[in-house]
Amino acid sequence: MDPVIAISGLSKTYEDGYEALKSVDLTIGKGEIFALLGPNGAGKTTLISILCGLVKPTGGSATVGGYDIVHDYRKTRSMIGLVPQELTTDQFETVFATTSFSRGLFGRPAKPDYIDQVLTDLSLIDRRDNKIMTLSGGMKRRVMIAKALAHEPTVLFLDEPSAGVDVELRKGMWDVVRRLRDSGVTIILTTHYIEEAEEMADRIGVISKGELMLAEEKHALMAKLGRKTLTIQLQEPLEALPDQLGKDGLELAEDGTALVYEYDTRSERTGIGALIADLNRADIRVKDLDTKQSSLEEIFVRLVREGQ
């Protein structure tokens, strides 16, 4: 994995003394989709803003494409496209004009065909010559994505790209993001929709109170941290949990027709074998078994809670 972004000891203390980032270390590989998760105020936007040059770091350093973000800012910033969290657009400009402006600003000669292609990919081509103020919120967000892509960046930051975008268009946007990744663009996105991270990301980072709690490959993360729930459907309902079955993590479902056992896939002994044996010994007859992997959301909620 070629690192495209290498962050080391990056910290930010705002002027009012608030420590928004606490010595973050992170490496992001080329062509990767990296999802940054974390509750409100965790420091996601701060991290992205530092890499893009909008916020000055107060400690540590970072490189993009091997260049330092402060000293070689021209090189790093021309590689980066940013879609900020907030919707900010020039209401009086047309979609095409504002997108072309972005391209020029980032030092690229005009290329109307390419701009049209980007607008087509984002289903904005019908609105090409409309003023931005005549667009809907979701369209405006896509205009901001078009602006970020106008200079053909190799690293794309999407700060909550799907806020305010409907389900249909969100799927369309994911397709665009995947296509970009396939063409070699590295994508860093923040989101509060866990299913979005679960669906899109190759790797996931969780940040809480300015600290990067983890950054891992998605599947590994889920396997490693994933708890599974085993649901055992019973042939005859039970009134109460028999004493023989006194086991951590085991509960009787409300109507007494099932036993629910939560276990950790990380541990050496899941306790399933013993549970089955116990069931046999107590002569409880089983109708059906079902296991469920916990979702990223559950992992995430737990992590944040543990971090507090």
């Binding site: 705002y14 002027e15 893009c52 040059g53 909008l54 916020v55 000055k56 800012y73 021209r74 090189k75 790093t76 910033r77 021309s78 980066i80 940013l82 900020p84 907030e86 900010t88 657009t89 020039d90 009086f92 004009a97 402006f101 972005s102 391209r103 020029g104 600003l105 980032f106 030092g107 690229r108 000669p109 602006k147």
Partner: protein
């Protein structure tokens, strides 16, 4: 040098002005015409000449300076304040551009706009009075240097201001009085000695005096002093802008 960026910002700003072309041109032309009617025709008819120049013609350089200063500051301060206000400034700040390129784009556009307006005022003036330009080269130099320095000054105000009130404050409370008291409509020699000395501390006096000299070869202070003052003001503004971008003052946290 990211020339594409300079060009993008410059054209964007010019395009913005073009959208509001009517307000941009009509209001200064009307107010200047009013000045000519009030000062030139009504009051001027009672004043014979100043240094051998008819009063109506004497105030032309002052009126152009008034427009130039007001419009440069207004255009540049608004040009940078507005993206800051609505948030679109993020894009410029995250772009691979240096402070010099940002300034060239924004200040260049503001200066261009005020130069165009100043020229329109000059042309308007010729409908009312006979205007003579003895030193066209110096006239253009003063004209351009003033537009550039005060656009820079406006740019600084636009960055400093965090409310619309503050944006109006300096032009209204400082610049306009300085222009009026700086000899736009009179020669400082018409003032009592004490006020003459006070006026020498007004930087705008030097601008107007030098500019007027390039028209009629009459001035309140030496033309070299005038030029030096403009250059000093320009250098101070450049230094301030450089500092703003170095520290990220009011732009980056």
């Amino acid at each position: 040098m990211n020339l594409y960026a300079v060009k993008s910002i410059y054209l964007f700003e010019m395009h913005r002005a073009w959208r509001t072309i009517l307000q941009s041109v009509v209001s200064p032309v009307i107010s200047t015409s009013l000045y000519f009617i009030v000062f030139g025709a009504a009051i001027g008819s009672r004043i014979n000449t100043i240094d051998g120049v008819s009063y109506g013609a004497y105030i032309v350089p002052g009126l152009i300076m008034l427009t130039l200063l007001q419009q440069s500051i207004a255009a540049a301060s608004f040009g940078i304040y507005f993206p800051k206000f609505i948030g679109t400034i993020y894009e410029v700040l995250s772009a691979p551009v240096s402070f010099l390129e940002i300034v060239l784009g924004y200040v260049g556009a503001a200066a261009t706009k005020s130069i165009i307006l100043g020229t329109i005022i000059l042309i308007t003036a010729t409908f009312f009075v006979h205007v003579r330009i003895d030193h066209p080269f110096w006239m253009v130099l003063f004209f351009a240097l003033t537009a550039i320095s005060f656009s820079l000054f406006g740019f600084i105000i636009g960055i400093w201001a965090d409310t619309f009130e503050k944006l109006q404050l300096i032009p209204l409370l400082i610049v306009t009085p300085l222009v009026f008291l700086g000899g736009s409509f009179y020669s400082i020699r018409m003032l009592p000695p004490f006020w003459q000395t006070v006026t020498l501390f007004n930087p705008v006096l030097y601008l107007i005096s030098g500019f007027r000299w390039s028209f009629y070869e009459v001035s309140d202070v030496g033309v070299a002093v005038s030029l030096a003052m403009i250059l000093v003001f320009l250098a101070i503004c450049l230094g301030l802008v450089w500092w703003i971008f170095k520290t990220g003052y009011r732009l980056k946290s």
